[in-house]
Amino acid sequence: MIVALAVAIGVTLGLVLQPTVPVDLQPYLPIAVVAALDALFGGVRAWLERIFDDKVFVVSFVSNILVAALIVYVGDKLGVGGELSTAVVVVLGIRIFSNAAAIRRHVFRA
């Protein structure tokens, strides 16, 4: 319940304030979004499997975003930013997909 409230507040804040991301941070936005989605799906799956842990959730969210941003930053400096972004998206994308599949199995038993 309280989590749904947090989601609602997040959506409203984002839509009402319409914050603009600084140009310097814009390359990190897509990666950060994928990392956030990964943490969210992981959290939901863990909750459904009754092993949810708040500390693991928060730490995985923060560290995922930081590591993803770091990879993109280093990649940009090395001139392979696009490729490393792709790598992050592939890895996190697969994780999101299999977590989503696990959540589907839990919810629909199919």
Binding site: V3, A36, D53
Partner: protein, 261 residues
């Protein structure tokens, strides 16, 4: 492949299992709701910001494109207007020149010479019989006519004895260039679009025979069979070619005039 399998099988943070194992052994701790909510809020905010950003940027890109297009069209219109003014001014100059020259016998001779040289240089519009060559891209859009195909056709037409040539209404002169700029072909620095209409004034029969036997025509026929480019040509009893946009020689000087002065 085992890497991908690893990622897929350990999709859930291993930390959750470890924490669950710790919790079952130790006393269970109450989830800190505030912390979790804060993180969920942050994650949601991130996703929404990204969505808003993407939403705002898409119309901006298309707006920029439209603005550029409008600018290009406005500049094209300006060029056309200036060109019309230039043509009018040039016609005036010619009329005044003729009037001034017609007053003396030497002037008459000069006028006649000027007329024939202008004709040859392409600075006056001309009419006459000739050959019309049409080139077009592959109708399926896979293969395109290139600048060098047009160059080949034009050179073959000159070689076949053409006296004046225009490509899509752009009269060719000694200063003309046919070249590719990105996806477009420029003739006299003006973009021309397919189908390319090449008109050449000359003896129609000789032009047709000689051009038909040229290597360029053979190449274009082969391209037609291999790549689907359209190519055909035919005699025309009356063609009218416009004047060239202008010959302005800035460095070349006439030896004859300089010497006689």
């Amino acid at each position: 492949m085992s890497l991908l399998v690893d990622i897929a099988t350990s999709a859930l943070e291993p930390g959750y299992a470890a924490a669950a194992a710790r919790r079952s052994s130790a006393a269970s701790t109450r989830p800190r709701a505030l912390l979790v909510c804060g993180t969920v809020l942050a994650a949601t905010l991130l996703v929404v910001i990204a969505a808003v950003q993407a939403h705002q940027r898409a119309p901006a890109a298309s707006r920029n494109r439209e603005r550029l297009l409008a600018q290009v069209q406005a500049h094209d219109a300006t060029i056309a207007a200036l060109q019309r003014r230039l043509d009018a001014a040039r016609a005036d100059t010619t009329r005044l020149q003729d009037a001034a020259l017609a007053s003396t016998a030497a002037g008459e001779r000069l006028s006649a010479r000027l007329g024939s040289e202008e004709l040859a240089a392409g600075t006056v519009a001309v009419t006459g019989p000739g050959l019309r060559v049409t080139l077009d891209d592959d109708p399926q859009g896979r293969n395109r006519v290139l600048d060098r195909d047009l160059q080949g056709v034009v050179n073959a037409l000159w070689a076949a004895g053409a006296e004046a040539i225009a490509v899509d209404g752009q009269r060719l002169t000694a200063e003309s260039a046919i070249r590719q700029a990105g996806e477009a072909i420029l003739v006299n620095f003006q973009p021309v679009t397919p189908p390319y209409d090449v008109q050449a004034i000359g003896d129609p029969v000789a032009l047709e025979t000689s051009f038909g036997a040229s290597r360029s025509a053979a190449t274009m026929r082969a391209y037609g069979q291999l790549y689907g480019l359209r190519f055909h040509y035919g005699r025309e009893s009356a063609l009218s070619l416009p004047a060239a946009p202008g010959l302005s020689l800035r460095y070349a000087r006439s030896e004859v005039t300089e010497g006689s002065r």
